[in-house]
Structures are given as structure tokens and as C-alpha cells.
């Protein structure tokens, strides 16, 4: 694969320190995260890897302000997330974060255009400006000719492009993608990764969760999780290390 240039990082966006997350299920407590510290700067491209159940999704939900930590400190652009109420969290999710899901999560009865407009409605943007912005990003992801298609009239790869466009439309500080290629074949997955590389080169910050080393190889930094802890966190992608990490009992 052709690795493009790595860009210089910008200011600190995400700063978490010693984050834990417990799920209480009856008498048992699941420690999904046991003390994770991470600093992410503007225009980084990070892959989060690790075995199933290691807490990758939990960490992503935390970073995306969908969930609040049991303990620890979380600052987003210098603001303390732990002190925010529901509406403030919603505002952060709306303006600062773009989510891309494994299952696309498009509204089935709405066209691509309407799906992409959705975050803009919640941002209170005028209908005309809304449509213009949505059309613009749909062109960016290469779907200029699929704007009035509904999700069931699109291929899996196209659906994920719509989802990426939706994540991008409000110009978020950071894009969070939890296994964005998990439901796609490897060729379509590569197309999405090309799109991400393109977004990265244009100055976006991307964090993606993946199981696949080929996918993770696109990122400029790799974080390995195991049992709710960061096992390794290093620049670039080292296949051998990843193999070691996965094969350990």
C-alpha cells in the first residue's frame, strides 16, 4: 500500500487521564476500562486495536461523549467533559464529533441528502445553507450522483460514504469510526480507507477502531488495548508487534 506523508500534528484536542468505566450487571461488575490515559492532537490519524472485549468501543463512546467515565479526567479542547450536562454533551457531539458506525446507521426512509443534513438541523442551520453544505460533502465523498437515493438503493460502500459525509458535514474537530469497514468486503473497505486518507490529508483528525491489520496500517499511530488497559501506543504501524499482541494468551 502507498503510505502518504505524515502531517505535522496540531494543538491538543483530547486529553484523558486514568479513565475507568465499570458496568454493573447484577452482582458482577465488568471493568471495561481500567485506567486509560491518552492525548490526541489535531490532525492525528489513530487506529485502536485489540482483542474483542478489550474495551475499544467503550473507549470510543467515551471519546465521543456518548458515555461518561466512571472515574478519571476527560478534557475536550480544554473543556471538562465530566461537568457537562446532557444538552452540552449533545452540542459537543453535534459540532465537534463525527461518528461513523459499523452498521452505517442511516435513516432508512430518508435520501442520502436528508441523512447528511440531519446534524445540521440539530445545529440550527438554515434550510438553504443546510442543503448546500450537504451537497458539497456528498460530492467530496464521490456521491454527487446518488443524492436522492435512499439507503436501500445504495451499495454497502456507498452507504458508508453517506455515513462519512454525514460525519463530516458539520466540520467536526474529530472523526470517530468504530469498525467502519467491518460490514464491507475488503475491496470496498479499501475504498473507504482511501477516503479516510484523503480526509486526513485535508487536515481532519481521525480515530478508527479495527480488527484488521491492513486497515490499521493506514493510520499514523496505533493504540493497542487489552483488558481495558493501553498495552502499546506508538507511532506508525509495526506488524510484528501487533502479531505478538494478538497471540499472547
Amino acid at each position: 500500500m502507498s503510505q502518504n506523508s505524515t502531517r505535522p500534528v496540531g494543538p491538543l484536542v483530547i486529553d484523558i487521564e486514568n479513565i475507568t468505566k465499570d458496568y454493573v450487571m447484577g452482582k458482577e461488575t465488568v471493568h471495561a476500562l481500567r485506567g486509560v490515559s491518552l492525548q490526541i492532537h489535531k490532525n492525528e490519524y489513530i487506529a485502536v486495536m485489540g482483542p474483542s472485549g478489550s474495551g475499544k468501543s467503550t473507549l470510543m463512546n467515551m471519546l465521543g461523549c456518548l458515555d461518561t467515565p466512571t472515574s478519571g479526567r476527560y478534557e475536550f479542547s480544554g473543556k471538562n467533559v465530566a461537568e457537562m450536562n446532557d444538552d452540552e454533551l449533545a452540542a459537543i457531539r453535534n459540532r465537534e464529533i463525527g461518528f461513523v458506525f459499523q452498521t452505517f446507521n442511516l435513516l432508512p426512509r430518508s435520501t442520502s441528502l436528508r441523512n447528511v443534513e440531519l446534524p445540521l438541523i440539530y445545529a440550527g442551520i438554515d434550510p438553504d445553507a443546510r442543503e448546500e453544505m450537504a451537497i458539497h460533502v456528498l460530492h467530496e465523498v464521490g456521491l454527487g450522483d446518488r443524492m436522492n437515493h435512499k439507503p436501500n438503493e445504495l451499495s454497502g460502500g456507498q452507504r458508508q460514504r453517506v455515513a462519512v459525509a454525514r460525519a463530516l458535514v458539520n466540520k467536526p474537530s474529530i472523526i470517530l469510526a468504530d469498525e467502519p469497514t467491518g460490514n464491507l468486503d475488503s475491496k470496498t473497505g479499501e475504498e473507504i480507507m482511501t477516503l479516510f486518507e484523503d480526509l486526513y490529508q485535508r487536515g481532519n483528525t481521525i480515530i478508527l477502531v479495527t480488527h484488521e491489520r491492513d486497515i490499521a496500517a493506514h493510520a499514523r499511530r496505533t493504540v493497542h488495548l487489552r483488558d481495558g488497559l493501553i498495552e502499546t501506543d506508538h507511532a506508525g504501524f509495526i506488524p510484528e508487534l501487533d502479531l505478538v499482541a494478538l497471540d499472547r494468551p
Binding site: 463512546n61 444538552d87 449533545a90 452540542a91 457531539r93 461518528f99 440550527g124
Partner: protein, 430 residues
């Protein structure tokens, strides 16, 4: 960042966002109804039935109200009635039973005193005396006719119009001529084709010449007809029907805004007529339309409340259907709710969305129901013209408001549940 985008104050931006969310919610509700057409129709049916029931009951109550007011108006709101009994329920009826009867002669005495009183609030006192008799003409006969003797000035206190002819005049009144005025029903029964004017009817075997026919007045509270009546001069009445001069006295007041003063004045005059010493209580009753109204109002109101309550139950059942379907909708779309929250929907946004869905369903049901109710009223009006039905714009507005309220109330619990969903849990939902 986003403040710089619009350059507007945060309050204004919030308002704009609210409007956009509102219009988005209506669109979602419409598409939701369209894509679940059968389900929506069946659920709306509950509301349709409820609104039809409530609206029809409302028109019936409106009809009763109009009939009631019309019945009341025959008493006139500027006339006082002097009688032995008060127009209300009394617990000590035995105290009233032994009162002295009211006499026709009191009218003359009262009129005399009114004339002597400067700035009197009273205008004139009219004696009336009544019996029930049957009235004959040729081979036809009508029974249960109210035969009333009075004076020519009776016309001043009355509210009726004439279909043809006139009321008897002063001369006929004083002389006790054998003339009479008949009600619509009497004229209709005895003279179905010809004009009754100048014909003579037989009452108690005596002939009375008809000089006028009163226009149709309808019935009193639907209980008895006001058109089954014959009115004649008092001397003639006393000569042929009763030697006793038992009577009711009607007193017209000059200014109906001073009814209370007029009533006090009349009570004073009556006490003088009766020669009551100061320590004795009144031994007569002075009645008025308003007093009768306030006696009958509670009865009328409890009929209305009971009717609305019973029909309201059917609307309640409809509301439960709406609540149920909204819960189903929330459940089905849990993942969608999670997605919307991830994209920045706030609790209020989600709450609004589902409230509008339930309200849109109810409003649709309400509009259809109102259409049905209107059609049914129209048909009932054609089939049974006398059935009291009153369809008003006020009723349309109220039933629309009731529909919206039903939607809001029944949608609230599911919408609240949806708005409180934890985004992560909702996103995980399959």
C-alpha cells in the same frame, strides 16, 4: 465555531433550531404514518370514534342549551311572577301549602299603588288565571289545552308573535266578550286547511270567536307544548270556568337592570295588599326567569357532565391506543434514536419528535372524526328536525384542541422514555 457561522445571539439561534427541529418532526411524523399506513389508520380509528362521540354529545348539549334558553325566554327577563309557590325546590312545602291564594283583584290594587308611587320601578301588573280544558270545532276536538283568562295588556308582558289576527282589545277585555286567541297547535288541529279567524270554537259548551292565532312557540324544555293554549278576556273566563279568582300576577318592570330593586318594591306592595304586619313573613312568592334558571341549571349541567364523561371514556380508549402505538414506535426505532443522539439530537428534540408523532395521529383522527360528526349531525338534522343539535365553530375549535391534548397526553410517556434513552444503550439495541 458555530456561533461565528450564524453570527446571531444564542437565544435567537436556539429558537431557530427549535423551529427547524419542529418542522423536521412533522416531516418524520408524516413519513412515519405513510409507511405504517394500516397501523396508523387502525390507531387513529380509536380517536375518530372518540371524537365523533364527544362531538355528537357536544352538539346535543349545545342543542339542549339552546332549547333551554329558548324555553326560559318565554318568561321574559323583565317580568316578575307573583304566586303562591316559589320556583324552586322547597323542603318545608307545608308552609307554602296553607298560604292564602293569590287573587286576580290584586292586580288592580297593585296597578293603583304603582300609579301612586313616584319613580316606581314597576310598569304594570297583569292578572292571569288558567284551567285545562278541551276545545272543539265541528267534529274535531283537542284535549289538554291550557285555557287562560287575562287582560288585554297581557300582550305587553308576552314574547309571542301572531301568525294571523290580533290580541283581544281593551274593550273586549273589560266587557268579557266571548273572544279568544288560540295557540298554533290548537289552530292546526281544528283548522288544518282553513283560516280560524272569526270561527267560533266550543269550550265547556260555550262558543268563543277566534280573533288571533299565535305563531309557533315550540315546547317548554321538550316537556309540554307552548302552542296548546287559548287566551281569553278574564271576565269571560271567570264567568264560564271558575268562580274563584285564584290567579298568578305578572308584573313587568321598567328597567330590567334594576330587577332586584323592582322585586323589593313589589314585595312591599304585596305586603300592603295583604295587610301584613311588619313581624310577619311574606305569604307569597315573587319569581323570575333567573331564579328558575338557577334551579334548572345544575340539572342541565349534570346531564352535560355525565354525557361528556361517558363519551370521554371512548376518547380515553382511543388515547390508550395512541400511547401504545407510540411506545411500539419508540421501541422499533431505538437504534434510530441512538443515532440521532450521536448526531447531536438533544433530549428535547427526541421528546418533541415523538410528541408530534402522537399529536399528528390524534389530529388526523380528530379531523376525520369531526367530518363524520358533521355529516351525522347534518343527517340527523334532516331526519329528525326537532332533535336538539347545535354544530358550532366553537365546537370545531374545541374538538381540535381536545385532539391535540389527547395526542400530547398519550404521547408523553413514550416520548419521555425515548428522550431519556442512554445513547450507547440505544445504539447497541438490535
Amino acid at each position: 465555531m458555530s456561533a461565528g457561522r450564524t453570527g446571531l445571539g444564542p437565544v435567537f439561534r436556539d429558537m431557530k433550531r427549535f423551529l427547524y427541529e419542529l418542522s423536521e418532526s412533522w416531516k418524520i411524523a408524516a413519513s412515519q404514518m405513510r409507511s405504517n399506513l394500516t397501523r396508523s389508520t387502525l390507531t387513529a380509528l380509536g380517536v375518530i370514534i372518540g371524537i365523533v362521540a364527544v362531538t355528537l354529545m357536544g352538539t346535543a348539549i349545545g342543542g339542549i342549551q339552546v332549547g333551554f334558553d329558548k324555553s326560559m325566554s318565554i318568561f321574559g327577563d323583565d317580568v316578575l311572577y307573583v304566586g303562591q309557590w316559589p320556583w324552586k325546590k322547597v323542603d318545608d312545602w307545608w308552609n307554602y301549602r296553607d298560604r292564602k291564594k293569590i287573587k286576580t283583584e290584586y292586580a288592580d290594587a297593585l296597578n293603583h299603588m304603582i300609579a301612586m308611587t313616584p319613580n316606581s320601578n314597576l310598569m304594570i301588573a297583569i292578572p292571569t288565571s288558567s284551567v285545562i280544558r278541551s276545545v272543539k270545532y265541528a267534529d274535531s276536538e283537542v284535549g289538554n289545552v291550557l285555557v287562560r283568562g287575562t287582560v288585554s295588556d297581557y300582550i305587553i308582558t308576552s314574547t309571542f308573535d301572531f301568525k294571523e289576527g290580533r290580541f283581544f282589545n281593551d274593550l273586549e277585555s273589560r266587557g268579557g266578550a266571548n273572544v279568544c286567541v288560540v295557540g298554533y297547535d290548537v289552530a292546526d288541529a281544528l283548522f288544518p286547511s282553513a283560516s280560524p279567524i272569526d270561527k267560533s270554537v266550543l269550550i265547556n259548551g260555550q262558543p268563543f270567536k277566534i280573533v288571533g292565532v299565535i305563531a309557533r312557540q315550540g315546547s317548554f324544555l321538550g316537556l309540554f307544548s307552548l302552542d296548546s293554549i287559548v287566551v281569553m278576556p278574564l271576565p269571560a273566563f271567570q264567568k264560564y270556568f271558575t268562580a274563584k279568582s285564584e290567579a298568578d300576577i305578572l308584573v313587568k318592570v321598567k328597567d330590567k337592570t334594576k330587577l332586584a330593586e323592582a322585586k323589593d318594591e313589589l314585595a312591599g306592595l304585596m305586603r300592603r295588599v295583604r295587610g301584613l304586619p311588619p313581624e310577619k313573613k311574606d305569604d307569597f312568592s315573587i319569581n323570575e326567569q333567573q331564579a328558575l334558571k338557577s334551579t334548572l341549571d345544575p340539572i342541565k349541567n349534570s346531564i352535560a357532565v355525565a354525557g361528556l364523561f361517558i363519551t370521554g371514556l371512548s376518547l380515553f380508549v382511543g388515547a390508550i391506543g395512541i400511547m401504545n402505538i407510540t411506545f411500539v414506535s419508540v421501541k422499533e426505532r431505538t437504534k434510530e434514536i441512538g443515532t440521532r443522539k450521536a448526531l447531536g439530537a438533544r433530549r428535547r428534540t427526541i421528546l418533541l419528535q415523538f410528541l408530534i408523532e402522537s399529536t399528528a395521529l390524534c389530529l388526523l383522527g380528530g379531523i376525520i372524526g369531526l367530518g363524520f360528526a358533521f355529516a351525522m349531525c347534518f343527517l340527523i338534522g334532516i331526519a329528525f328536525p326537532s332533535f336538539p343539535i347545535q354544530f358550532s365553530t366553537g365546537l370545531v375549535v374545541i374538538s381540535m384542541m381536545v385532539s391535540v391534548m389527547t395526542g400530547l397526553i398519550s404521547g408523553f410517556a413514550p416520548a419521555w422514555t425515548a428522550s431519556r434513552l442512554d445513547p450507547v444503550t440505544a445504539l447497541r439495541y438490535e
